[in-house]
Structures are given as structure tokens and as C-alpha cells.
């Protein structure tokens, strides 16, 4: 009985949620520990029963970087604004890796946890959010590799611009989360998303200046090109770390605008679909 009297229970009102005003952020705050546990579980489980364990977090971006170096540096001889190609591409692979994890795990997060969704209440936003956050662990590991690479190639970081890096990381997270919100909610009803994901990832990679420099895109098309929010993220990372490019210009603001638009609309779309998740999943 003492357990019962420990806290005064608060009353919950359950009613059909109307319109878009139903963003229940208070519940998200109450359940914040669950986000931590989900991320912790993802990280713990991800490399279990693998021979190489956490080394995979290093192998994946490094191998991609090596392939890119061979194809675009040795064969195609792309210009990289004076930066050694491995450093140039690896800088872009950092936010790109984060985005790919979010795109793939995040979009599948609701369907993958359907037993949780159909059995208990918790703010569903937690699932895509924690998928995106768990990508941050791989990001941190890859970041250490980048530092080593820069040291090896004797590339001096742009010290005066480095402080902007967290802002670009935030932009990367917002972009990734926005896309994950849209796709995870659509995936509940239309599993077409699962089929489209590998293709979408590949297509998106080509449309983002990961392997090449934005200067390869004709000037007059750059604004259209920046409608892909990852353009702003990747350019931002290169600018903040290596000092290449023009810094914040119109293309960045276009990317930021689109990114925020996707995020906010994704949030509302997700919330408006949330009430039927348990019925349609």
C-alpha cells in the first residue's frame, strides 16, 4: 500500500486527437529515458555476434572512402580544391553515414517494433528519434578516423570555422530525422518504402556532393541542386572542417529552409498518422 500512496496519480484524458495541434511533446519529455534505453540497446545489439564487432563502424566508411578514392581520384581525377581526396571524401562521408543510418533504420523503425506499437502506449516519436541518435555513435567513431586521416595527410583544419561544426551536425540530424519521420509513417501503411529505400539511398548519394565537389555543378543550377538538403549539410561540413567552398551562401540557406520544412511537416504528418499506427501496422 505504501507504494500506492507514494505519488498522487495524475489523470490522463483520452480523446480523438484533432488536427495538427496534437503534438504531445510533454509525453515525449516524460518518456525521455526510453530514448536513452533504445539508443543504448541499438548500440549494444548492433555488433553482437559479429567477429569484428565495433570495427565495422570503422570499416564501412573507410572502405567506401577507398573505393571513392580509386574511382574518382585515381581514375576520374576529380578536382578537390587542394585537399587530398581521401580527406575530402571522408569529411562528407561522416554526415552522409549518419543520414543513411537514419534513412534506413529510422524509416523501418515503426514496422520493426510493431510488437511494441500494437501492445503498449509510448510516444511513437521515440522510435525514429532513437534510430537517428544511435547513428551518432558510429558518427563519433568515424570522426576519430577523420582526425587521424587529417593528421596523416597533414591537412590543417579551418580552426576559425570549426565552431560552426555542431551547427552543421544539428542540421544533419534535423534533415535525417525529418526524412525518417515521413518515411517511417508512410511505411506503416505502405511497405513500398522498404522496396524503395535501397534505390533511394543510392540515388540520394549521387545527388549529394559526397564523392565530388559542388563546384562540379554549373553555377546556375546550384540553387536547384541545393533543394537537396544534404547538399547544405555536406558543404557545411567541408567548410567548417577544411575551409573549402564559399561558406554560408544562398545554397546553404535553401538547404536549411528545405530541411526545416521537411522536419516540421514530417513531425505533423507523423502525429496525424500516429493514432492509426496500431490499427494499420
Amino acid at each position: 500500500m505504501s507504494e500506492l500512496t507514494k505519488h498522487e496519480p495524475h489523470t490522463i484524458y483520452i480523446k480523438p486527437s484533432k488536427g495538427l495541434a496534437a503534438l504531445n511533446l510533454r509525453d515525449l519529455w516524460i518518456y525521455r529515458e526510453l530514448i536513452f534505453f533504445m539508443v543504448w540497446r541499438d548500440v549494444k545489439v548492433k555488433y553482437k555476434q559479429t567477429l569484428l564487432g565495433m570495427a565495422w563502424a570503422v570499416i564501412q566508411p573507410v572502405m567506401t572512402m577507398l573505393v571513392f578514392t580509386f574511382l574518382f581520384d585515381k581514375v576520374a581525377k576529380l578536382q578537390t580544391e587542394g585537399i587530398p581526396y581521401p580527406v575530402f571524401s571522408f569529411t562528407a562521408l561522416l554526415p552522409w553515414g549518419l543520414f543513411v543510418v537514419a534513412l534506413n533504420q529510422g524509416s523501418r523503425s515503426l514496422v520493426a517494433h510493431n510488437n511494441m506499437v500494437t501492445k503498449i502506449y509510448f510516444p511513437r516519436l521515440i522510435l525514429p528519434i532513437s534510430s537517428v541518435f544511435s547513428g551518432l555513435v558510429d558518427f563519433a567513431i568515424a570522426f576519430v578516423i577523420l582526425v587521424l586521416l587529417m593528421f596523416y595527410y597533414q591537412v590543417t583544419p579551418a580552426w576559425n570555422l570549426l565552431w560552426t561544426l555542431p551547427l552543421f551536425l544539428l542540421l544533419a540530424i534535423i534533415t535525417a530525422l525529418g526524412v525518417a519521420l515521413w518515411l517511417s509513417a508512410i511505411n506503416v501503411q505502405y511497405r513500398d518504402v522498404n522496396q524503395a529505400l535501397p534505390f533511394l539511398t543510392q540515388f540520394w548519394l549521387f545527388a549529394t556532393p559526397v564523392a565530388y565537389s559542388i563546384s562540379a555543378v554549373p553555377e546556375k543550377w546550384q540553387i536547384v541542386y541545393a533543394l537537396n538538403p544534404m547538399v547544405g549539410v555536406v558543404n557545411g561540413f567541408r567548410w567548417a572542417l577544411l575551409g573549402t567552398g564559399n561558406g554560408p551562401d544562398i545554397t546553404l540557406w535553401v538547404s536549411v529552409g528545405i530541411s526545416i520544412l521537411i522536419f516540421i511537416s514530417g513531425l505533423f504528418y507523423f502525429r496525424s498518422m500516429e493514432k492509426t499506427f496500431a490499427d494499420t501496422i
Binding site: L34, R41, K44
Partner: protein, 429 residues
């Protein structure tokens, strides 16, 4: 007394249709048109301008249900399959939203059907306790303080740092149950219909439910087992086709449930909306009570054999299927259970039943039943594999005992059966 749960005009609408008609194309042309227009359809559906809405059917799983429940009360919920019991519990535990109406719930709602949700096979017992606790809405400090208690209760102390994929299913369930049982919600909902696990485990659930009720918590209990409802609740509501038919003291509600909606004609036909989707490929069609002449009756004579005919359809072959009958009294005590493949010769012959319509027919010999009303339930399952369909309250029949042993005294006999025993009387001196 304070109100723990207040339900006002709750309704829940589900979409059906569309999915079922989707693959019924008449012509290749339709297939092509449909394939080509698929991306357009997807886009339309996403912006909410779906033209499919017109040909979709809606069903109300719950309609206009209202009731209040005071703190510390135990409420039973009875009703047939598809009556809306599970939907009601899902709304109360906020898994799904109502279409209409409002509910106010005072305190945390826990349910024993969420046992083991979020358990990950690769994580150890210890890690899963924290994970599962967080999913059920416990704070980390709360889990910390109850950790030892949970481990003790689960009886897996020495394996607590072993990944749960190495656990036996019994250990797994015990650990999962231990976490759920220590959540200590103000309101507990128990859906026995959906409860997983073996009989032992279900017993443990019911035991826990009794404890919880004694501690002054509010409990909602859904079951098909009338004796459990009668034993554990003082008050019950009866749901039928999504509507609340009555609320009253449990005995009254159970009597009402058993006598209402049941066919008086000794026959029960299943409507499509009464069959859960999970029963596929098994579809029940009808259950009939027939006397010797083949006539369908609702009152049988105890001195004559009676035949129970269960007709059903299989959409694909099923291996090891057994179709059975439960006979129980209207107070919920079982009289007996019997399966159509109890006989090993029949079991071997019908090892695999192919798709098609079947009748399983049982003749119950004369002189079994006493004067009373009996409930017939059905079950279709593959032992140890899966339960396809189960309905413990399909229909009821009356028994007329004229001519039965002992009727010359005209007094009621206790006990559910009234066998004609082979009495011998010997004079010894």
C-alpha cells in the same frame, strides 16, 4: 470514492474492405491499369485525397460505450469474439485512439498482455529488465530500487547476466512477467483472451490479478472463462457487437450474457465479423445440436444420445489439427472436453487435413447430463503449435431428464452429470 476510469460515449471505427477486394481482378487490363496507376494512388492516399475511401467499409468495433469505475473496484468484461472487449482495453491503455468520445483515466495503466514487450534476445536478463521497465514507463530510479525484487520473483538469479536467447521459454516468461508485475500500476487491465503462455503461467497471471485487487487497485478483467469472472469480480459489463448491453452484479451479468444473443434454436452460425483474422486458415461455419432423428433441438432428452455437429472450412492444409468441444455448466465449471482426433486411429488418418469443408461430429451417449443448462464451446488447434480458433461460449442447450435414473423421487440432484450406474444390491446374511 474517487472515479478511476470514466468512459463517455466511446466509439471506435475500423476500416475493412479495400484489402480484401484488391486482388480480385477480372481482366488483365485491370491489372495493368492498376499497376500503372499505383504511384498516383500512393500519392493521392498520402495527401489524404484517397478515392478508395468511397469503396471502403467501416465497422464500429465499439459504439457509444459509457461507464464509470470507482477506484479499487474489479470489473469483469464479457462478450463474444468481436464484441469489442479487446478494443476497449486497447483504448484504455492508449495503444489506439477512440474515433469518438472521451475517457479519463486516473493513474498509470498497466496490462499483463504487454509481458516481454521490447525484450531483445541478444541482451542479458539484467539489461532486458532495464529496457523493458523503461518501455513500460518506469523511471530508471524506480527500476533500480525494484531490481532485486524483480530478479528474486523471476527465479533466474544465476542467469541474470546471460543473454535471454539462451533462456528456456519458461525462464523467459518468468522474467518478463516479473517486470510487468512490479510495474505497480494504479489500474491493471488483463485480457485473458490474449494472454500467452501455458496454463501454469496463466494461473500465475490470475493470481497476480487477485493480489492487485486486494491491494485496492482498480482492475479490468476480460475473459471467456465464466468461472474466473465469477470468482474474481463483483461487477461486470456485457458487450455485444460493440455496444454495452448491461452492467450489473457479476452473477446477473453472466446469466444475461449466457442467455442473450445465444441462439435458442440449438444452432449457431458464425458471421464473418465474429471470426478473428488470426484464425485463418480455419473458418468456423456452424455448430448444431441434433437429436437422434436429425432434428436440430435446443432441449435434449438426457435418456437419448445427442449429436453435436461442428462444420468448418480450411483455406489451406493443416497438419495435426484437432477440433474439440468443451461442455460446461452455465456457472463456468467444465463438465468435459473432447477432441475429434482423441482416437489415435482417427488421428493418424487425419494427420493432415487438406483445404475444404469439414464436419466433425460427436455423439454424446445417453445418461450423461443432469437437469440443467449447458454451454458448448469449440476449439481448433494443432497441439503445441498453434490455436486457430476458440470460443468457449458458442451455444447452450437445456436438458430434459424425464425418464432419467432417480426421477421417481422428483427432487433435484446435485452435480453436473447424472450417469446411469450399474447398481447391484446383494443381501449378505
Amino acid at each position: 470514492m474517487t472515479t478511476a476510469i470514466s468512459v463517455k460515449n466511446i466509439g471506435k471505427q475500423y476500416k475493412i474492405g479495400a484489402a480484401e477486394t484488391k486482388f480480385h481482378y477480372n481482366m488483365l487490363r485491370d491489372v495493368i491499369v492498376d499497376t500503372v496507376s499505383a504511384p498516383i494512388r500512393l500519392a493521392k492516399a498520402m495527401i489524404g485525397r484517397s478515392d478508395r475511401r468511397a469503396n471502403q467499409n467501416f465497422v464500429w468495433a465499439l459504439k457509444d460505450v459509457s461507464f464509470d469505475l470507482e477506484e479499487g473496484k474489479v470489473l469483469g468484461i464479457v462478450g463474444r469474439n468481436g464484441a469489442g472487449k479487446s478494443t476497449l482495453l486497447k483504448i484504455l491503455s492508449r495503444v489506439t485512439e477512440p474515433t469518438t468520445g472521451t475517457v479519463s483515466v486516473r493513474g498509470r495503466v498497466g496490462s499483463l498482455l504487454e509481458v516481454g514487450t521490447g525484450f531483445h534476445p541478444e541482451l542479458t536478463g539484467r539489461e532486458n529488465i532495464f529496457m523493458n521497465g523503461a518501455i513500460l514507463g518506469m523511471k530508471r530510479a524506480e527500476i533500480d530500487s525494484k531490481f532485486d525484487e524483480i530478479v528474486d520473483f523471476s527465479e533466474v538469479t544465476q542467469y541474470i547476466d546471460t543473454p535471454v536467447k539462451r533462456y528456456s521459454s519458461g525462464m523467459y516468461l518468468r522474467l518478463a512477467f516479473a517486470v510487468a508485475a512490479h510495474l505497480e500500476p494504479e489500474i491493471l487491465v488483463v485480457d485473458e483472451v490474449l494472454a500467452v503462455g501455458d496454463a501454469e503461467f496463466q494461473k500465475k497471471c490470475l493470481g497476480k490479478m487477485g493480489d492487485v485487487a486486494q491491494q485496492g487497485r482498480t482492475v479490468l478483467f476480460v475473459s471467456h472463462n465464466m468461472s474466473a469472472i465469477l470468482r474474481l469480480t463483483q461487477e461486470a459489463i456485457v458487450l455485444n457487437k460493440g455496444q454495452l448491453l448491461m452492467r450489473g452484479p457479476t452473477q446477473q451479468a453472466v446469466d444475461f450474457y449466457l442467455s442473450s444473443g445465444q441462439s435458442q434454436a440449438g444452432e449457431r452460425l458464425w458471421d464473418a465479423d465474429e471470426i478473428p483474422v488470426t484464425s485463418a486458415p480455419f473458418t468456423p461455419i456452424s455448430l448444431k445440436v441434433k437429436e437422434r432423428s436429425g432434428k436440430i433441438v435446443d432441449t435434449i432428452r438426457s435418456t437419448e444420445p445427442v449429436t453435436l455437429e461442428f462444420e468448418y472450412k480450411l483455406d489451406s492444409s493443416v497438419t495435426g489439427l484437432r477440433v474439440g468441444l468443451y461442455i460446461s455448466t452455465t456457472r463456468g465449471e467444465y463438465v468435459f472436453t473432447s477432441f475429434d482426433t482423441d482416437d489415435t486411429a482417427l488421428y493418424d488418418k487425419f494427420d493432415t487435413r487438406h483445404a475444404g469443408r469439414y464436419i466433425s461430429r460427436a455423439e454424446i451417449p445417453a445418461d450423461i447430463f443432469n437437469e440443467s443448462r449447458y454451454t458448448v464451446g469449440v476449439n481448433a488447434s494443432s497441439f503445441g503449435v498453434r490455436r486457430y480458433f476458440m470460443d468457449e461460449n458458442v451455444l447452450a442447450f437445456n436438458v430434459d431428464i424425464s425418464g432419467a435414473p432417480g426421477t421417481q423421487w422428483g427432487e433435484p440432484r446435485v452435480g453436473p452429470i447424472r450417469p446411469r450406474l450399474n447398481w447391484k444390491i446383494e443381501k449378505l446374511d
